[in-house]
Amino acid sequence: MPGLFPRRSNLFGTVVVAASLGAVGFASIGLGAVVVGETRRVDLGQKAAPGIDSIKSQYKRPATIPFPKENPYTPEKAALGKKLYFDTRLSVSMAQSCASCHSPGFGWGDGLAVGVGHGMAKLGRHSPTIVNAAWGAIFMWDGRLATLEEQALGPIEAAGEMNMPLDKLMDRLASINEYKPLFAAAFPGEGMNAKTLAKAIATYERTVVSERAPFDAWIEGNEKAISEEAKRGFAVFNGKAMCSACHEGWNFTNDGFQDIGLPSKDIGRGEFVPGVVKMQHAFKTPGLREIERRSPYMHDGSLDTLEAVVEHYDHGGIDRPSRSDLMKPLGLSAQEKADLVAFMKTLTSNLSPTAVPVIPR
């Protein structure tokens, strides 16, 4: 960082920054209602690196699941949502359910590089896990949906995925006698419609939470819960490798969008923020809970193992204007790489089996 703006050429440095912003096509230097001025260095003072206890305190599991005010939890909603989640009749072919691509058997993903949609056609991106979706700030790899309720309907309607128009779906569900009392119990007075369908599925999804893993026991003070190798890996994760700059907190994500330099043509978030350079090729940072069960990895499923993922970050990926400033060669040793992988494996819980519900007829 020092040397970014040489001491004697503050003004010159800022002019360069302003000019490069102009190229973005958004910043209005001297035009329009907003004027972006100079960027200067500021002295933030020397900060001591936080100690291990302070770092560990940022990874404590939350005690409760957050449910939104607009769609509070009820057991009736969650039970109905679970039946809908596993019901293949939500797809036009009657062959695919939400669980087809987000299966409890594969860490709530599908174990494939990229998802498979209508007609078994391959989709463009890896099916993300739904584990800990209750804590999500924004949804889909490219952040195009704002809430889990919207997310629940997205793949149902998408022509390439379940290909099921919502009005047609509601007609189909209305013809299934056993759904009526379930909707009536979950949504008194609201009826069966796309809105209540989305609310039920989202409520069920919010109950899918990664269970306690060895890592959690260590965070809570049991020094024997994870290996020394994994503890060193945690230090690398938060230190030299800076993984925690994006994979932060107990669910190991801040839901931010970053171009991590994968060689893919997909512009991801860039489609929705065309004027912002750093959003081109940027995808949402996934959480890392149950990561060992979620291979292959990355938005395009292009890396098969955690070892390959660590190699990618160590290398830094493709250097292009959109690449995150946090991506750069790390110079990790073989030991540090192995330690990182050992650490990530402590995030695997003993997920108890999920019983497939009896589907209404």
Partner: protein, 106 residues
């Protein structure tokens, strides 16, 4: 004009932090804006300081007041002047939880 002179003087005397005193400051430490909402007078500037440990990318998509700071490195600050009255939402393109409102009054 007055501001420009103040700014130049401060650069000359090397008090870059002091120069910002005239503007209201917005900080970003911990991936959170220091204020959810800030009121300023038309024509005044806010100083957005990245006092966090990672880059942010502040921008607004509010119609007529669009701007984009691009990747703002830790340890830098940028002044943004708002010349039209209205409510302008400022977000970080990278971090979806970072949202604030700038209320520009006549």
């Amino acid at each position: 004009m007055h501001k420009t002179i103040t700014f130049a003087l401060v650069i000359l005397t090397g008090l870059s932090a002091g120069a910002l005193a005239a503007n209201q400051m917005v900080y970003q430490k911990g991936r959170v804006f220091s204020s959810e909402s800030v009121s300023i007078k038309k024509g005044d500037a806010l100083t957005f300081v990245n006092d966090d440990s990672i880059p942010h990318n502040l921008m607004s998509a509010t119609k007529g007041s669009e701007f984009n700071l691009g990747s703002q490195a830790p340890g830098t600050s940028t002044d943004v002047t708002f010349k039209e009255a209205g409510d302008i939402q400022v977000i970080c393109a990278i971090h979806p939880r970072m949202k604030m409102m700038v209320k520009v009054t006549d």
